[in-house]
């Protein structure tokens, strides 16, 4: 990932997108927050939407909750037991599961969508605030890891980031 992502969105020229590589080199890791799983509805994959206190000064509550709710919806779609999953299961069983050598399962398709969504969220919302979301699949689907970075750069960049958080309205 080289080069800055273009800045013009909704005509808001003050928004700066940090290149994520740049973020890793210029910032230092201060803390990590782990969003745990919510088991109230059984063993389906769902994460808690409780807003952690460490992020209070870094990001708005609504943005964070939106991200987690969208992720939960994606996982619910992947694990839904309905007509399509039965069909997939029966077809696979009839071919002794050899069909999975050529075909991608529905879960894998949804995982790709999730990876793209997280990448997009990181670029647009979290990296400008010095945060980074790690895909839960890299942590065994146990936690959503959010890394909090302290910008080692000049105070100008930190004031820039505070103006970013004020001006971006989604």
């Amino acid at each position: 990932m080289q080069g800055l992502v273009p800045t013009a969105t909704d005509g808001n020229m003050a928004t700066e997108f940090h290149n994520l590589q740049e973020l890793r080199h210029s910032a230092s890791l201060a803390n990590k927050v782990f969003i745990q799983r919510d088991y109230s509805e059984g063993t389906t994959c769902k994460f808690q939407t409780k807003f952690p206190s460490e992020l209070e000064s870094r990001i708005e509550r609504t943005l964070f909750e939106d991200t987690v709710k969208t992720l939960n919806n994606y996982y619910a779609e992947a694990e839904k037991i309905g007509g399509q999953s039965y069909l997939e299961g029966c077809l696979a069983c009839a071919t002794a599961y050899l069909i999975f050598l050529c075909m991608e399962t529905r879960y894998e398709k949804v995982l790709k969508k999730i990876a793209k969504y997280i990448q997009e969220q990181n670029e647009k919302i979290y990296a400008p605030r010095g945060l980074l979301i790690t895909d839960p699949i890299e942590r065994g689907m146990r936690v959503i890891e959010i890394s909090i970075y302290e910008d080692r750069g000049s105070s100008g960049s930190s004031s820039g980031s505070s103006s970013v958080s004020g001006s971006t309205a989604r």
Partner: protein
């Protein structure tokens, strides 16, 4: 004073902790002991080849050519299911990375508050509410995570497995969330295959005896006797196992939960995962989504290995090198602190060296604590695994799971109480832990085996 670090790319499976063996560059994942799995393969392939060699030519001509064709299809399905069960990831949960482990420890300490010195801290348990029932999540000291509901730690493979059913030596792998349906289809199709071969053996012998006489038939096709013997003994065990698992699926339970008696008994909670409808339960287990593996076995990662170090390191660092190579898979934290200290030692003056010595000593202590715990587990496990192999040969449909069952818990309690000369209440604990659904015969067998295993423990 230079340490040259060479960075090379390795596949992630080479660095995975746990006692699995990997083949085909990480594509195949199995347990360490594979002897019984080879026996299973040999029995299935051997019996089927005898069937195709001796019975099929006669039956194809005198009855129908569809018979060997159907047998071949069934045989291929059985092999596909067996290999799929044995070679796939059962749903292993990766261990917590150091930051996550620290985060969880901090949460636990905050929840426990101040424990007065000398008192044991309360057990690490988290209560969650699932479908209006309280379920306790236990903390796994090896993997440093709170286990998700229905997950359990397999001591043979040294991994936490999601929706852990049991560790099957016949299949050479754990049976968990990802490969339970393949395991069930394997036992079901193997039952059908066994019944099929047994039936057609009898038919073949009867038909041939009518023409040639019974003894001549046996002389012409000696394979039949062997097949009938193998099928007879396989029938009882495999059909019984299939029936047992069908019962479990209809109730949406795992073997582990059934043995521990998690959802049975009046005062216990009801199964919160069951849909209370047999069809729905079966559909969820057999036709549910195919979960992906969260262990990225074939991903690439960087590995830093020091090539030459000429440093004036304090003497304690050389003693660290030995434990590091043998137990590098035990803790995630310890090896990284060693390499960190090795590179730091190159610079610095005496004061810094003293600080690093303190670090090294602390890491050593941590490592020796882990080794102590592991040593005890290894010794016990060896003894009990002898006993369980014997048990599983005799009663293949009753594979007793070793980790965390009433069996191991009460054995631990017996050994500890014996050492502390406290009254031995283990039999009462065992009686309470085993569910009422098991017959008293099984209870007697388990008690006998327990005494035998404890006796073995004393000599090891």
């Amino acid at each position: 004073m230079s340490a040259v670090m060479i960075t090379r790319k390795v596949r992630k499976w080479e660095k995975l902790p746990g006692k699995n063996t990997f083949c085909c560059d990480g594509r195949v994942m199995m347990a360490r002991q594979k002897g019984v799995f080879y026996l299973t393969l040999f029995l299935i392939v051997g019996t089927c080849s005898l069937f195709f060699a001796f019975e099929c030519p006669y039956l194809a001509v005198h009855l129908s050519p569809a018979i060997p064709v159907f047998a071949a299809v069934l045989f291929l399905f059985v092999m596909a299911m067996l290999l799929r069960t044995s070679f796939s990831d059962p749903g292993v949960l990766p261990r917590a990375l150091p930051e996550e482990a620290t985060f969880i420890e901090m949460e636990i300490e905050a929840a426990n508050g101040n424990v007065p010195a000398g008192q044991r801290p309360p057990p690490r348990i988290r209560n969650v509410q699932i479908n209006n029932q309280i379920v306790k999540l236990k903390y796994c000291y090896t993997c440093k995570i709170f286990r998700p509901p229905r997950a359990s730690h397999c001591s043979i493979c040294d991994n936490c497995v999601d929706r852990f059913d049991h560790h099957c030596p016949w299949v050479g792998n754990c049976v968990g969330k990802r490969n339970y349906r393949y395991f069930y289809l394997f036992t079901l199709s193997l039952s059908l295959l066994t019944i099929y071969i047994f039936t057609f053996d009898i038919v073949h012998v009867v038909m041939r005896s009518v023409d040639n006489g019974f003894l001549n038939t046996l002389k012409e096709t000696p394979g039949t006797v062997l097949e009938v013997l193998v099928c007879f003994f396989t029938l009882w065990s495999v059909v019984g196992l299939t029936g047992f698992h069908t019962y479990l699926i209809s109730l949406n339970q795992t073997t582990n939960e059934d043995i521990k008696g998690s959802w049975s008994g009046k005062n216990r909670i009801q199964n919160p995962y069951s849909h209370k409808n047999i069809i729905k339960n079966c559909c969820e287990v057999l036709c549910g989504p195919t979960y992906p593996s969260v262990l990225d076995r074939r991903g690439l990662m960087q590995e830093d290995s020091p090539v030459s170090t000429t440093c004036t390191a304090p003497p304690s660092s050389s003693s660290i090198a030995a434990p590091q190579t043998t137990v590098s898979t035990d803790t995630n934290a310890a090896p990284s602190s060693f390499t960190h200290t090795n590179s730091k030692v190159d610079q610095g003056c005496e004061a810094q060296n003293n600080e690093y010595r303190a670090d090294i000593k602390e890491s050593c202590n941590q490592l020796y604590r882990v080794l102590e715990r592991r040593k005890n587990v290894c010794v016990k496990r060896r003894a009990i695994s002898c006993v369980s192999t014997y048990c599983s040969c005799l009663y293949p449909f009753l594979i007793v799971q070793l980790n965390e069952t009433a069996f191991l818990r009460s054995t631990n309690i017996y050994v500890i109480s014996h050492l502390c000369s406290k009254p031995k209440k283990y039999l009462h604990i065992l009686n309470n832990a085993v569910p009422k659904s098991l017959s008293s015969m099984l209870l007697t067998i388990i008690q006998t085996l327990q005494v035998v295993s404890v006796t073995l423990l004393r000599f090891l």
